[in-house]
């Protein structure tokens, strides 16, 4: 019953707000409808309406999936300083990282669902009621760890909000183990996602032991980058509070991740280009193009250059402590990782294909529609949960607000009747 009241409170928060808030919701809703039309087309006609073919059989959807797994994993990275080092300024905002993780995982699973030909048979993959091919298939592992990670973060976020709502102190023996558990899980989801590619000897481009470490390093760059920007927006537009100190601490942690990310990239490039085996073909296509096919070269280099610039910005204290350059750096590293985890990770895995042919993949309008739909859905969900969290944590919305309103309403009605009388 108490929990139902909490849910009721949440709904009340969601359906009240400023004009800007409703305009934002309306915009997202329009994007969902616009994108949904594309996905309906795909449901009707199958994956043939995408530009994925035999040669490039995973593409835009899976690229977004991989990127979002990174976001989900890295969002929880904030937990580490907050709980292990008991770093107070971050502790209050850890919950936002967890909310981001929850939304990112939902988007991830949505991207898997849209990428399969028979989404109505998706349940075949569930443990127990389906016939999950566990432990042989890495895809089942990935699905399993993602679901677990989702449940852990959802539980923690909901429980914390629930306690704030009822003005209770949360039970440390429940929260702390779960939060600590979510740290290896965050590493786990991204590692398993990397293994998803890594496990295919048929695709030499992915068959590198450095893939999982690179995934983690880049995720720990992009996830906090989103949070840095997000916290600043929230700080300006709502009563959300965060000290500069906390933002700079996050930025400092990102420097390590960015350095490791660059280092891994260089290590990989050295190995491939120096040993010059037949597997270099894919790297050549990525960084220099093969013949007239130089589609990816711009992306590959811009990703590396953006990553280096962002690293320098974050490394130099003067630029790190300046919000303009800090935000610039965050945007650069975010774009760099989005390219790295999307187009330049997936496409060279397939190109040139086993026949030596080059199929130039460009996402079809259906794919873009569907991706917009999923991102808008994710943003909508994220907006809702963040609004709930801000109102409960920073604006003091609680069980009392529900009661006060009720009594107020009661008084209003009484006054009305007395006036009528």
């Amino acid at each position: 019953m108490n929990f139902l009241r909490f849910i009721l409170g949440c709904f009340k928060i969601i359906f009240s707000g400023s004009r800007v808030y409703f305009a934002w919701l309306f915009f997202l809703l329009m994007m969902i409808i616009w994108g949904g039309s594309g996905y309906l087309n795909q449901l009707e006609n199958g994956l043939i309406v995408t530009n994925m073919r035999d040669s490039v059989s995973w593409a835009f959807y899976i690229g977004n999936f991989t990127f979002l797994v990174g976001v989900a994993a890295a969002a929880v990275m904030l937990v580490i300083p907050a709980y292990i080092y008991d770093w107070k300024p971050i502790k209050e905002i850890v919950i936002f990282g967890e909310i981001l993780a929850v939304c990112a995982v939902i988007m991830c699973i949505s991207f898997i669902v849209v990428d399969i030909g028979n989404p109505q048979k998706f349940w075949h993959m569930l443990p127990g009621i389906g016939t999950m091919n566990w432990p042989a298939s890495i895809l089942t592992w990935d699905f399993f760890v993602l679901s677990t990670y989702f449940l852990v973060n959802l539980t923690v976020a909901t429980y914390l909000l629930y306690c704030y709502f009822y003005k209770k102190h949360y039970n440390k023996s429940i929260v702390i183990p779960l939060v600590l558990f979510s740290i290896p899980m965050a590493v786990g989801i991204h590692t398993v996602t990397a293994f998803l590619y890594n496990a295919l000897p048929a695709r030499p481009f992915w068959n590198s032991a450095l893939l999982a470490p690179r995934f983690l390093a880049s995720a720990f760059c992009s996830g906090p980058a989103i949070l840095i920007i997000l916290f600043q927006i929230l700080r300006k537009t709502t009563k959300f509070e965060i000290k500069d100190e906390a933002i700079f601490k996050i930025a400092e942690l990102m420097v390590y991740a960015m350095f490791i990310n660059l280092f891994f990239t260089i290590a990989e490039l050295f190995k491939e280009f120096y040993s010059h085996t037949e597997h270099l073909l894919y790297w050549k296509y990525l960084y220099f193009g093969i013949g007239k096919n130089t589609e990816l070269v711009v992306y590959a280099w811009s990703s590396i250059i953006m990553s280096i610039i962002a690293f320098v910005i974050f490394l130099v204290p003067k630029t790190r402590y300046n919000f303009f350059t800090l935000n610039l750096g965050a945007i650069l590293i975010y774009s760099s990782v989005y390219i790295e985890k999307g187009i330049t990770l997936i496409i060279p895995g397939f190109t040139p294909d086993t026949l030596g042919q080059i199929y130039v993949f460009v996402p079809s309008s259906t794919e873009i529609h569907t991706a917009v739909m999923i991102f808008s859905l994710g943003f909508l969900l994220f907006t809702f949960i963040v609004k709930i969290a801000i109102e409960i944590i920073f604006e003091g919305y609680s069980i009392d607000s529900l009661k006060i309103k009720k009594t107020k309403q009661y008084i209003d009605e009484k006054e009305l009747t007395s006036i009528n009388n």
Partner: protein
């Protein structure tokens, strides 16, 4: 108060009953996973029954594309030029070692007579299809058990059960799988399982005009395939991947391995 008490006790009854039912079901279905584990433990009849494989004598292959065309007919493979269960490639190697691979419409319409190019030193055709690997990566990665190796060594897809995730398409080093645009499931060569189980040769082998392609039981010492492998210097495609393919090529050139 009394009312509430009865309510509680009846609820408890319900829980007890449902608990008993659950327990019973648990016992019943405990047998299920055991069955699976037993099957996994190696009761695969590898040594006993047939263990099918394919062989091609590349010296005899003339690249007419009859196999690719017949396969499309026999198995209702979509006509579009990017869906193939069986296809033919032509390799051309120039004197300075540049390898060019062609497969216009998978060879279904045959290969046009090439314009004479003095640069080209050697050229050869390779008919390809599923290699029916004994350690097939596609079977390994399928998340739901929709792709499997039949007891006689043929890699098959359970169309009714496949979710169409496409993971097997990535995992196949031989590019022999595709997502069927109508069925929305993975699709591949079945070695014409419906024919071989009735004693007929697969469609591609039935129509091969030069008898370059054969199939047979690797466990049967007198089968055509076993004789073919003994008499010829056979290799498989991409042996370094250790997928144990069962598609044996005679006279396979190094450029194609």
């Amino acid at each position: 108060m009394e009312k509430e008490n009865t309510k509680v006790s009846s609820r408890r009854d319900f829980f007890k009953k449902s608990g008993a039912i659950a327990g019973g079901l648990l016992l019943v279905s405990m047998l299920d996973p055991l069955k699976q584990i037993k099957a996994l433990a190696g009761e695969k009849p590898k040594g006993k029954g047939a263990w099918y494989g394919i062989g091609v004598d590349l010296e005899k292959c003339i690249g007419c594309g009859s196999c690719a065309k017949a396969c499309k007919t026999e198995n209702n493979v979509p006509k579009e030029p990017f869906f193939f269960r069986s296809w033919v490639e032509q390799y051309s190697v120039t004197a300075n070692g540049v390898v060019k691979v062609q497969s216009p419409n998978g060879g279904v319409d045959g290969f046009k007579q090439p314009v004479l190019d003095k640069e080209i030193e050697k050229s050869f055709f390779i008919p390809k299809s599923c290699n029916h690997c004994a350690k097939s990566p596609c079977e390994q990665v399928c998340p739901v058990g929709a792709t499997f190796i039949s007891p006689d060594g043929v890699v098959l897809v359970d169309e009714t059960y496949c979710i169409g995730c496409g993971y097997c398409v990535q995992a196949c080093p031989y590019a022999c799988r595709y997502l069927h645009p109508v069925k929305h499931t993975a699709d591949k060569c079945t070695l014409c399982y419906h024919r071989i189980k009735k004693g007929l040769a697969p469609a591609c082998i039935t129509v091969c005009p030069t008898g370059a392609k054969i199939y047979g039981d690797l466990n049967d010492k007198n089968s055509d395939l076993v004789k073919f492998i003994k008499e010829h210097n056979c290799t498989v495609l991409k042996p370094h991947l250790n997928t144990k393919p069962k598609f044996f090529y005679n006279a396979l050139k190094e450029e194609a391995e």
